[in-house]
């Protein structure tokens, strides 16, 4: 087990460096001199040269990448051009709001997905299966940002039950788990949960169907186990794959929150990314994407190792 975990971690190192390289190159594929973004409009030639040296833009690209990576490893992602504050602090503060949203969405999406997937797989080809698979396919086909708008139209505009935008009564401020704040979380969380719900329903349905058609289920029934006990065996067999899919979905929710956060003005990493793009705040853009991508890589790693820990077949297989 430990050797498997160690091997997986070593394998992740080139990926991490590759991901960092892609993030580094983002600034260099932008049209024009990256320096333009950090320069005041009326900057003199000397100031431009000073900044070029200060940012290291005068050095060859591989050297720049090395320096940038070294600073990033030490937690220095530069400063936001718009606010002047350190990028890492800005990103981490925003990410905590995105994590809140992702956790709420995961609770809704994962439980619904597991429920629909299990009953659809168990009662395959019945009307229950048809209803569950229709919900699932609608879930994965919905433009979620549009669903967010429709929910706002129904619950904020027409019914006036829930707030349309923001993450708290005072406009900003810290998140807390009370009703005054939770009201703001409901619509974005439902919106975020729809895609994972659909994907987990489809995965679990296929898994359950596969497991039920295996011989050992026949054997369990033949030796007289009650259906609830058979069901426990099915769950145990489906768990590793289902957990892996859920882990990945959590990562997608953390990294892909920009559209929903834009619809609901939810002050998370997605909204931060949005403002970084439109203010051409390149250090902030680069830093946010790096942090989110690293989250995703690490989450993938944890999921792989956890999957191996609970499923002995994987260790033997590799």
């Amino acid at each position: 087990m430990l050797s498997y975990a160690a091997r997986r971690m070593v394998y992740a190192i080139p990926i991490i460096i590759g991901v960092a390289l892609v993030c580094f190159m983002l600034v260099h594929i932008t049209p024009g001199d990256p320096l333009v973004a950090v320069l005041p409009a009326d900057a003199s030639q000397e100031l431009a040269q000073q900044l070029r040296v200060a940012y290291g833009f005068d050095k060859p690209l591989p050297v720049q990448f090395g320096l940038w990576l070294w600073r990033a490893v030490n937690g220095d992602l530069g400063s936001s051009i718009a606010t002047g504050r350190p990028v890492l602090a800005e990103v981490l503060r925003a990410v905590s709001n995105t994590v809140t949203l992702a956790i709420a969405a995961a609770i809704i999406g994962f439980s619904l997905g597991l429920f629909f997937g299990l009953i659809a797989g168990y009662f395959r080809d019945s009307w229950i299966d048809k209803v569950a698979t229709s919900i699932a396919i609608a879930g994965v086909s919905l433009p979620h940002y549009w669903l967010g708008m429709v929910l706002v139209i129904i619950f904020s505009v027409e019914l006036n039950w829930l707030p349309a935008v923001g993450a708290g009564p005072s406009g900003s401020g810290a998140w807390s788990w009370d009703w005054a704040h939770l009201r703001f979380l409901i619509l974005p969380a439902i919106t975020t949960s729809v895609i994972p719900m659909g994907i987990i329903t489809r995965t679990v349905r296929a898994l359950t169907g596969d497991i039920l058609s295996q011989d050992f289920v026949e054997a369990l029934r033949a030796k007289g186990l009650r259906e609830t006990q058979v069901f426990r065996h099915v769950l145990k067999n489906a768990a590793p794959t289902a957990l892996a899919v859920m882990g990945l979905q959590l990562g997608y929710m953390l990294g892909g929150s920009i559209l929903i956060e834009t619809v609901f003005s939810w002050p998370g990493s997605g909204l931060l990314l949005n403002s970084a793009i439109f203010q051409r705040d390149l250090p902030l853009l680069q830093g946010t994407i790096l942090v989110l991508a690293m989250f995703f890589v690490i989450l993938n790693l944890v999921v792989d190792i956890a999957q191996a820990a609970i499923d002995p077949r994987i260790k033997r297989g590799s």
Partner: protein, 299 residues
């Protein structure tokens, strides 16, 4: 990981050998035509596609011509069956014209990625060795990003525009298709007919083009059709964020964005462009599912 194992298990991979190829595809064709859900989806998609292509001949209102005195009319207003938008432009005309750009930026990344990914996967899978390692490890890096984040990162860095949207979405989908193509190719490369071709002196290029391509294309194609729905949603999403096309161009994602301010005045007109994206996306998803089960000849 799950993607490649799916492709490996896909019954479509056990397709009949080349000599029966026509028989196999004819069977698949017959099965898909008999599937009611798939045919309804084909009909809806054709309707949207044809009306978008033939829009200038449909006697619609001018999709660019606004009027300050008839802004945000409701659905069902005489002469404006689907109402008007925030600048008084006819919604029906804009939704139909909007299909042109929306379908273009939604579908072309998948087509481009299908070509590029199949090529990369075929080479990686057939040549193997360090070529495989180089291609697949590079692919892994792009795979390590959530797709929405990668699409937005690249088009955010490149700047707004139709070409940039298509480029960034293509970069998102190439790794996914390459993985499937590589795993399917690896499954085929040691089959007897490839061995025979190699023994008879065919070059690597000839083997890939003449003997392997036909056998790997099916499963990759099915996988790619499943990506169109994601691509439509992401492409419109980029426009929705302001990273795609620019006003006053009619495009569903951009229309959704500009109408967002109107939800307190005329909410259901504002929601219409999203319904178009949803319709196209769900039809492609159902069609892809239908195609997958039609190609699963064993059942």
């Amino acid at each position: 990981m799950s993607v490649s194992s799916n492709a490996m298990n896909d019954a479509a991979l056990q397709a009949a050998p080349m000599s029966n190829a026509r028989g196999y595809w004819a069977t698949v064709g017959r099965r898909i035509v008999r599937d009611k859900v798939s045919m309804v989806c084909v009909a809806i998609l054709l309707l949207i596609l044809l009306s978008a292509l033939l829009a200038p001949y449909l006697h619609l209102a001018d999709p660019y011509q606004g009027s300050m005195i008839r802004r945000l009319r409701h659905i069902g207003t005489p002469n404006y069956p689907l109402g008007t938008d925030e600048l008084g432009r006819d919604m029906l005309a804009r939704l139909i014209y909007g299909g042109r750009l929306s379908l273009l930026i939604g579908i072309s990344p998948v087509i481009l990625a299908f070509g590029l990914g199949t090529m990369l996967g075929l080479v990686a899978g057939y040549v193997g060795g360090w070529v495989n390692t180089a291609i697949m490890r590079t692919i892994d890096v792009f795979y390590a990003f959530p797709s929405v984040l990668l699409a937005i990162a690249i088009s955010g860095a490149l700047g707004a525009g139709i070409t940039n949207s298509i480029v960034s979405l293509t970069i998102v989908f190439v790794p996914q298709i390459t993985r499937v193509a590589e795993s399917v190719t690896t499954g085929v490369r040691n089959r007897d007919f490839v061995e025979a071709a190699r023994a008879s002196g065919a070059s690597a290029f000839t083997i890939m083009r003449a003997h392997m391509l036909g056998n790997v294309l099916g499963p990759i194609f099915v996988y790619a059709t499943g990506l169109i729905s994601v691509s439509m949603i992401l492409a419109a999403g980029l426009s929705f964020l302001g990273l795609g096309t620019k006003p006053p161009e009619p495009e569903w994602g951009l229309m959704l964005n500009t109408l967002r301010t109107a939800i307190y005045v005329n909410p259901w007109v504002a929601a219409l462009p999203g319904a178009m994206i949803f319709a196209v996306s769900i039809c492609f998803n159902l069609l892809s599912d239908g195609l997958r089960s039609a190609m699963d000849i064993r059942s």
